[in-house]
């Protein structure tokens, strides 16, 4: 079977420090990493491969430098990787991203399963997975915590919900998004890192992917950022001092006062 894993490059940390006087962003050089949720997607694909046999494609949309991130994904034992990169893709919201990814998927072709991380840590929208499935016109299920059974034609899995779990059956081809409960991602081995060093990353432009320019990048994005600002926390803090006994006593009085 053929599995496609969607992988996003995200900043290694969300720590965006603000200069309080000028209200601007102080960006220290933060290394980019594979979106942590996508590492579970990669691992699950590799586990399927080890159990049932499969060919795994990593697919990403991003700046040219993201090819190094895909190389890292290869060191985690996916087989091949494709990077969609083009200025025409820039400024994409979740809908335009999903469309671009769908073009990459079509270019890879004849897949059985697409696995995405539940969400990306930089945007936290959890929208691209479902949107990609709808763009491709295939079934999807979000927040998968376990694959119980995988067969030609369907898979059975567990899905985490607010109320507990659901056991579901999905007809393939399909897309799933996975949560971190699903597995423990492995680290690369010396051997897999060596493989990754020499691996080729397929670079695909908007034209290569035969993408409709009206549906990619800023142009294809129905949503626009109107402004960004720094949240302010304006609280009058009261410090409770004294020995630990005194502090505890004072706090207990405050809490009991509030409660009643």
């Amino acid at each position: 079977m053929k599995i496609i894993v969607c992988i996003k490059q995200v900043p290694g940390t969300n720590e965006v420090k603000m200069d309080p006087t000028t209200n601007t962003i102080i960006r220290e050089n933060v290394a980019s990493i594979i979106n942590p949720f996508d590492t579970y997607a990669i691992e699950e694909a590799v586990r399927i491969k080890e159990r049932y046999g499969a060919e795994i494609y990593g697919l990403s949309m991003g700046i040219p430098a993201a090819s190094e991130m895909l190389r890292e994904a290869i060191s985690l034992k996916i087989d091949k990787a494709m990077l969609l990169t083009d200025r025409k893709f820039a400024g994409a919201d979740t809908l335009a991203t999903s469309y671009a990814l769908s073009r990459g998927v079509e270019k890879i072709g004849a897949y059985d399963l697409i696995i995405c991380g539940k969400q990306a840590t930089d945007g936290d929208t959890a929208q691209v997975g479902p949107s990609l499935a709808k763009t491709l016109g295939i079934a999807y299920a979000t927040d998968i915590s376990k694959i119980i059974e995988l067969n030609y034609g369907f898979m059975r899995c567990m899905k985490i919900t607010d109320d507990g779990y659901e056991e579901i059956e999905i007809k393939l081809p399909a897309l799933i998004t996975v949560v971190k409960e699903i597995n423990m991602p492995r680290l690369p081995s010396i051997k897999s890192m060596r493989n990754a060093k020499s691996a080729e990353i397929e670079i695909v432009t908007s034209k290569d992917a035969a993408a409709d320019e009206n549906r990619t990048g800023l142009k294809g994005s129905p949503t626009q950022v109107r402004k960004t600002f720094v949240p302010v926390h304006d609280v009058n803090s009261i410090y409770i001092s004294g020995s630990t006994e005194e502090q505890s006593k004072k706090l207990a009085e405050i809490l009991l006062g509030k409660e009643s």
Binding site: G12, I33, L187, S189, I190, K191, M193
Partner: protein, 536 residues
């Protein structure tokens, strides 16, 4: 000083340390300055009270556990009091009080968040040369809440001591309050012994003349067994690792190391223990087989996990949620070696790792049976895998404790010379088997320094394990090894040191102590047994 009837109740935590031994005391004080240490000391000497000095009580050899008398707890002397930068050599130093915790020093260095209110001009200026998160203190004991004073007193080291050495290698100067309240101010390179003779001048102008012992220290990479001793030694080294028996350290100047840009770790699983030990030899630069290319990497740490240690982790991982997040150990994995490497460039490290992979294959291993960490997040995973070993052991000891409360942790801390590594492993394995005990072995194999942890299931096994350790101390001393490599002798391992040094040699140590503390009040019973001297 605080003294009352319910002392044991109010200060019970100060009667223990991480060795899980409990002692007793009559009073405790928490000096905030050197003057207060002196005044507390004088009061004790006047009343002829024994004195136990405490830092953060994270030691494993019961050095900080009092057995009567007074406790001087230095946890309130917890300030970094200055910095120094030598422009020519590019060396950076911090001046600290003994109660500062290692975690605090690390935090200050990462964020460059020193409280400089009381610093002198020179120190503040030095700070201008410090970039945030570029310097670190290289001694890295597992217990990061250790105090710098405690680490100095026991000459602590850690995984990275393979490359960076122990505390001793990074202490530039010391202030030591002697039993009579006088002070020794020692700076490295300025008070050298000659042919076994030394002369030290105290701050009050008194000259202390003495003779160094005749015993020779073992030729091992790591040693904290008894007083440091070499005919031409730097006298500052006598006070480092002396377990608080010669004086009370009131100020330490430590040297910092520059952080390197790249830091990788790799855990290698070998098909059997012998092959794993060969890999250790490869990693530290020995030529193990012909046509072997010299390994171009210089590890900062080389660690070991015995088969039983891996099996223990495997079970815990499946059954205990606290260990669920450690990496998955495959059934084919037998014995593991962990290697950590620092360098200025990732490419350089990769070259070394690439070469290591070839060696692994040549030794009969599988370079796919490795975990490589090339960023801080994955490195943290390998670290927590390493730390899971002692945590698991502690947990199992706690379970055994329920059968008998006298059961405590049984871990060794002995090191041998390089060429005895395989021999000592063979000894451990055979003796454990012969005594029908269950044990896991892990630790700093690069320095031939392994922690053998017996996991007793009942009191009988505990006793057998304890006896076994004493025979090991004897055999290891015979191999030219050290009975304590990093925890210090403290009060717990005095019987071990007696296997390593003769009665006469221990008497030499005692004479040295009496020269600085003639009534033997300071940390009495640590390093060697207390014997009443004729001059009392």
């Amino acid at each position: 000083m605080e003294n009352n009837n319910t002392f044991a109740e109010m200060y019970s935590e100060y009667l223990r340390d991480e060795s899980r031994q409990t002692g007793m005391a009559e009073s405790i004080s928490f000096p905030k300055t050197e003057e207060e240490i002196i005044s507390d000391l004088k009061k004790c000497v006047y009343k002829n009270m024994e004195i136990t000095t405490q830092g953060a009580r994270t030691g494993l050899a019961a050095s900080a556990v009092p057995f009567g008398g007074h406790i001087i707890n230095l946890s309130k002397m917890n300030k970094v009091t200055g910095a120094r930068y030598e422009k020519e050599s590019g060396r950076f130093f911090l001046k600290v009080q003994p109660g500062v915790l290692l975690t605090e020093v690390r935090k200050y260095l990462t964020n460059k968040s020193f409280v400089t209110l009381d610093w002198d001009e020179q120190s503040r200026e030095a700070l201008n040369y410090m970039e945030k998160n570029q310097w670190f203190y290289s001694t890295d004991p597992t217990e990061i809440s250790a105090s710098i004073g405690g680490m100095t007193a026991c000459n602590a080291s850690g995984a990275k001591s393979f490359r960076y050495g122990s505390t001793r290698d990074h202490v530039e100067s010391l202030r030591v309050v002697l039993a009579d309240g006088d002070i020794l101010s020692l700076r490295r390179g300025q008070c050298m012994a000659r042919d076994g003779h030394f002369e030290l001048v105290t701050e009050s102008g008194r000259t202390i003349k003495g003779e160094l012992p005749k015993y020779k220290m073992p030729h091992v990479r790591k040693n904290t067994s008894g007083y440091y001793n070499k005919p031409h030694m730097d006298m500052i080294d006598l006070f480092i690792g002396a377990d608080g028996t010669l004086g009370i350290i009131s100020e330490i100047e430590i040297e910092l190391s520059k952080k390197q840009a790249a830091n990788w770790g790799v855990t290698v699983f070998m098909p059997d223990e012998d092959k794993a030990l060969d890999l250790v030899r490869v990693a530290r630069g020995e030529k193990v087989f012909e046509d072997m290319e010299a390994l171009s990497l210089k590890p900062s740490a080389i660690e070991f996990f015995s088969h039983n240690a891996l099996e223990m982790l495997k079970v815990q991982q499946k059954t205990n949620s606290a260990f669920a997040s450690i990496q998955e150990i495959k059934d084919v994995y037998h014995t593991a070696v962990y290697i950590e490497i620092e360098n200025d460039s990732d490419d350089e490290i990769w070259k070394g790792i690439d070469c290591l992979g070839t060696c692994i294959e040549k030794l009969g291993g599988d370079e796919d049976a490795t975990w490589v960490a090339n960023n801080p997040t994955s490195l943290e995973k390998l670290h927590s895998f390493r730390h899971a070993c002692p945590e698991c052991v502690n947990m199992q000891i706690d379970i055994a404790k329920k059968t008998d409360s006298r059961i405590t942790k049984l871990g060794t801390d002995m090191s041998v010379p390089d060429d005895k590594l395989k021999e000592v492993m063979k000894m451990y394995n055979e003796d454990i088997k012969k005594n029908n005990l269950h044990a896991v072995i892990f630790g700093h194999v690069g320095n031939n320094h392994l922690h053998v942890n017996t996991i007793p299931r009942n009191m009988e096994e505990y006793k057998r394990g304890k006896e076994l350790y004493l025979t090991w101390a004897e055999k290891i001393a015979a191999m030219g090894g050290a009975v304590s490599a990093e925890h210090g002798v403290g009060k717990l391992k005095v019987p071990f040191l007696q296997k390593m040094y003769s009665k006469e040699e221990l008497d030499e140590m005692r004479s040295l102590k009496k020269l600085f503390d003639h009534t033997q009040l300071l940390n009495r019973g640590a390093v060697f047994p207390f014997e009443k001297g004729e001059d009392i």
